[in-house]
């Protein structure tokens, strides 16, 4: 009997120490854990910025980790399991609607909202807004595309019109890299001739009604304009991407390419003194001359509503998108700032790529509230134009098919 009591006591003592040590463990680690996702190329910068954030808030203990997730992949990675996603992550504003739908992004209000509204350009804040609610801390205003060219091949006058570019490149046996088979670039041609889309949403942000005028007269003109480029011997062909552009400028095969600021450094390195950038050219169809349009977008930091430290996550996102950090991001990676003060810096103004994207953005269409089934049909149509599967007699038929698909959303 005595033995049993002793063993019971021993067990009890063990249990108490176990509990106490468990409690001690949780008490020891009182640091605030936050995760940030950003583009692969900017990981080191993000880590530095996290250190600066810690230094700026010495009263609290932070444990910030950094992960890789490109701004274009934010929805794909966050929607898998929003509760396991990062507390703060960068996203490009075309993904906003889907991020809202999957509950992956928190609304911003109060002093944070006032701050971003006063610091950043109106358009950049607008890009993170849906139904008057703001969901993102803008930090980059350069998510658009424009033209890079080889100054030894083309003059500034040549690059002002598409016809000029084509004739010079044809005569000098050089290629034009233009991703007509990538809907982000294809759509610009349609916008040029007044094609539009608009989406009405239900309360749960499913699509109520999609309007799209891509099969109107403008669509025909856009098709003709694209065919003018793609049927030329100077057109580089399908599959133009970052790699083919950089290597194409390197070998001297390419004289012109349409892409964004993210390739600026690499292209500058290849072209050296002949590095030239400008807005997209004009194009003449049926005697009507138009400035080519494009998509423009912004990059923003979103805060995950599942975050265990939601208030701290907002604080971090606000810090990462602040004026100082935008300046640093520009100096290190050439990212065009959305912050008014940072954008007015002399260095920013002197950067030709940023100047070109700013110039092109005047003719660009805001990339938000895009119909959910937009990208694939437009991409397919671009492919049809390149492959010459369709011509003047069949444009209308296939534009109708494309528009039909854009308008339809099987879930609604």
């Amino acid at each position: 009997m005595k033995k049993r009591i002793i063993s019971l006591l021993a067990c009890g003592a063990l249990a108490i120490t176990a509990l106490a040590s468990a409690a001690g463990c949780s008490g020891q680690d009182d640091s605030i854990k936050l995760t940030v996702w950003g583009a692969e190329a900017q990981q080191a910068t993000l880590l530095e910025m996290a250190e600066k954030f810690k230094a700026a808030n010495p009263d609290k203990k932070y444990n910030i980790s950094v992960g890789v997730c490109g701004e274009g992949d934010a929805y794909m990675n966050v929607s898998k399991d929003p509760s396991a996603a990062a507390d703060v992550y960068g996203y490009s504003n075309d993904q906003l609607i889907n991020l809202i739908r999957c509950g992956g992004v928190a609304q911003i209000g109060g002093s944070y909202l006032e701050q971003i509204k006063s610091d950043n350009t109106e358009e950049s804040v607008e890009s993170g807004t849906l139904d008057g609610k703001v969901y993102g801390y803008p930090y980059a205003a350069d998510n658009g595309y424009f033209m890079y060219y080889d100054k030894s091949v083309l003059t500034e006058e040549d690059v002002s019109t598409l016809e000029g570019i084509i004739s010079v490149c044809e005569s000098k046996n050089k290629k034009i890299g233009w991703a007509i088979d990538d809907s982000w670039y294809t759509a610009g041609w349609f916008f040029t001739f007044g094609c539009t889309y608009s989406v009405e949403y239900n309360d749960d942000y499913s699509e109520k009604k999609v309007d799209c005028t891509f099969n109107g007269e403008g669509g025909i003109k856009a098709s003709k304009a694209m065919a003018m480029l793609t049927s030329s011997g100077a057109f580089a062909g399908k599959g133009t991407n970052n790699d083919t552009i950089i290597s194409g400028f390197g070998t001297g095969a390419l004289a012109v390419a349409v892409t964004g600021t993210w390739n600026a450094d690499a292209i500058k390195e290849k072209l050296g003194q002949n590095y030239g950038v400008c807005k997209l050219p004009t194009v003449t169809v049926d005697g009507e001359t138009k400035q080519l349009s494009s998509f423009k977008g912004y990059k923003l930091f979103g805060v995950n509503p599942h975050s265990a430290n939601l208030a701290e996550a907002h604080k971090l996102a606000a810090f990462l998108s602040g004026e100082e950090m935008q300046k640093e991001r520009f100096l290190k990676h050439g990212v065009g700032p959305s912050n008014k003060v940072a954008a007015a810096m002399d260095e920013v103004k002197a950067n030709p790529a940023i100047a070109a994207v700013t110039e092109q953005n005047r003719y660009a269409v805001e990339q938000s509230s895009v119909p959910s089934n937009f990208w694939n049909p437009v991409k397919a149509y671009g492919g049809y134009i390149i492959d010459k599967l369709i011509d003047q007699t069949t444009y209308q038929e296939y534009l109708n098919k494309m528009t039909e698909q854009i308008k339809s959303s099987i879930s609604a």
Binding site: R101, G103, Y205, E207, G239, E404
Partner: protein
């Protein structure tokens, strides 16, 4: 027709005869299946009813020990000094009750609606931010409800075993025999019941990781789980067979027609691809093996080694290389343009038909070494005297191949062919890494001209978040794969006449 007449026929005639016979037999075999159905169903019903008669007789004839087991599992066995089983049953019942009260019931109750409130957004003035509270998550409700149903079924089975087990023990004791003790019982699991010990873990794994997800996916096919209904922000709900109707083209929207067309096109290409990918590899692999095996060929080992080297390179590396090489602005096209052979790039991977042919040819690169390896081994096993006697009878090499080599090979490798065919139906790597399903088509939705069912499924889930529709496609893919494998397997020679070789 007698055997002799059949044997006299030429190969094409035989084929026609067999095909005719198959279709002639078909109505009869279907009829016989349905004729046997009532009997089989009756058998099932009887087996099912016997469960109740067993319980009934246990209730009627059992003593208080059995009857108490109806309520408190295992107590009857404990009273019979069957401690191990008794305690385990009791423990199971207690755990089950706790699980149901604290966990299972919450979810099961919401299975009908899949939740009412998903997420609430509130302004928190103190923190200066919007805060979020997440309540019902349709996905978790569905998953945990399903799990609970599985556990309830397991519980009912255990309860039945407990009642009948107790009754059996009582009968044994009434007959004056000794019951097995705890020690003996334990020992039996290393002896008489050893299969149970071995199979328990794999079975549990299959139920948890295969059966449960399959049921889960089947249930998802009946919901509107898509981009606009993503838990935890939004709830999804039951929509009946709507997704099936949409995939099969019966939906009201024009989109449903497009989707149904896509499904047909993708299915057709999947079957065509699987057929060509399997048989081109098989036949060419065999030809290569025969060439190397031929008498008088030198450096046999060298050739074999060179071919096997391609296996050593990871498949996705060679595929990525090929897709870079054959791209419109890839190495091959650029070289040919710079040599002046062509003006415009050849659309190896960007034209619908050309891409299909390219994929099948590139697949040869990956598949031939494997089939060559397998064929080499079997070829060496064919007795040489068969060929010798064929030669004496005046057979040429073609006849010898058709009459000796091919039948022998087919007999041995049919299971290999079947697995290859099934594997190719679901061959994700080759398509995804070479073309990614492209070029896209305006007639199809979310799919390109070279998409297989499996890559289309990937796009529907990963890119488009159309989980409901994707589950339907998944179910159809399963049906296609099951039908093909069953037909081939049942009609293959290695199953039909196992004893007679050739």
């Amino acid at each position: 027709m007698v055997d002799l007449e059949y044997l006299k026929m030429s190969a094409p005639q035989k084929f026609v005869y067999r095909t005719k016979a198959f279709f002639k037999r078909l109505p009869r075999s279907i009829a016989s299946f349905f004729a046997a159905l009532p009997k089989k169903l009756y058998g099932c019903l009887m087996a099912f009813l016997s469960v109740f008669t067993n319980i009934g007789s246990a209730a009627k004839n059992g003593t208080w020990r059995t009857r108490i087991s109806f309520v408190a599992m295992g107590t009857g066995l404990i009273a019979l000094k069957q401690y191990l089983r008794g305690i385990l049953y009791l423990l199971f019942e207690v755990l089950f009750a706790l699980y149901m009260v604290f966990f299972g019931w919450k979810y099961l109750a919401k299975l009908g609606s899949l939740g009412e409130v998903a997420c609430v957004e509130e302004w928190d003035d103190a923190l200066g931010i919007f805060t979020y509270k997440f309540y019902d998550n349709s996905l978790l409700i569905l998953l945990y409800s399903l799990m609970t149903i599985f556990i309830i079924v397991a519980f009912i089975y255990m309860w039945y075993r407990n009642v009948t087990g107790c009754y059996e023990c009582e009968k044994v004791r009434e007959a004056g025999l000794k019951l097995t003790g705890t020690k003996e019982e334990l020992r039996s699991y290393t002896d008489r019941n050893y299969h149970k010990t071995l199979l328990s873990v794999p079975m549990l794994g299959i139920v948890v990781f295969t059966v449960l997800p399959i049921f889960f996916m089947i249930f998802i096919a009946f919901t509107n789980y898509d981009k606009a209904h993503m838990p935890p922000k939004e709830l999804f709900s039951w929509v009946g067979a709507e997704n099936f109707v949409n995939v099969l083209g019966g939906g009201i929207s024009a989109n449903s027609k497009v989707f149904a067309y896509t499904f047909r096109e993708v299915l057709l290409w999947t079957v065509v691809w699987a057929f060509f990918a399997t048989f081109t590899n098989y036949i060419l692999g065999m030809v290569v093996a025969i060439l190397i095996n031929k008498k008088g060929v030198r450096c046999k080992k060298l050739y074999r080694t060179v071919l096997v080297m391609t296996i050593a390179v990871p498949q996705f590396v060679s595929l990525m290389l090929m897709s870079q090489l054959l791209a419109d602005q890839g190495l091959l096209n650029n070289l040919m343009i710079s040599w002046g052979w062509i003006d415009k790039p050849i659309p190896f991977l960007t034209d619908g038909t050309a891409a299909k042919i390219t994929i099948i040819i590139v697949n040869l690169w990956i598949g031939i070494p494997f089939s060559m390896l397998i064929c080499t081994g079997i070829l060496m096993n064919i007795p040489e005297d068969l060929y010798e006697s064929a030669r004496i009878d005046g057979a040429g090499p073609v006849t010898a191949y058709m009459k000796i080599t091919l039948p022998y090979m087919l007999h041995v490798t049919t299971p290999y062919l079947i697995t290859q065919f099934i594997g190719n139906l679901n061959n994700f790597n080759v398509i995804f890494l070479l073309t990614g399903g492209e070029p896209l088509s305006l007639e199809m939705q979310y799919a390109g001209k070279t998409d297989l069912l499996i890559t289309w499924l990937y796009k529907l889930t990963v890119n488009e978040s159309q989980y409901g529709l994707a589950s339907v496609i998944g179910i159809f893919t399963f049906i296609v794969v099951a039908v093909f494998s069953l037909i081939f397997y049942n009609r293959s020679k290695s199953v039909k006449n196992e004893e007679e070789l050739m």
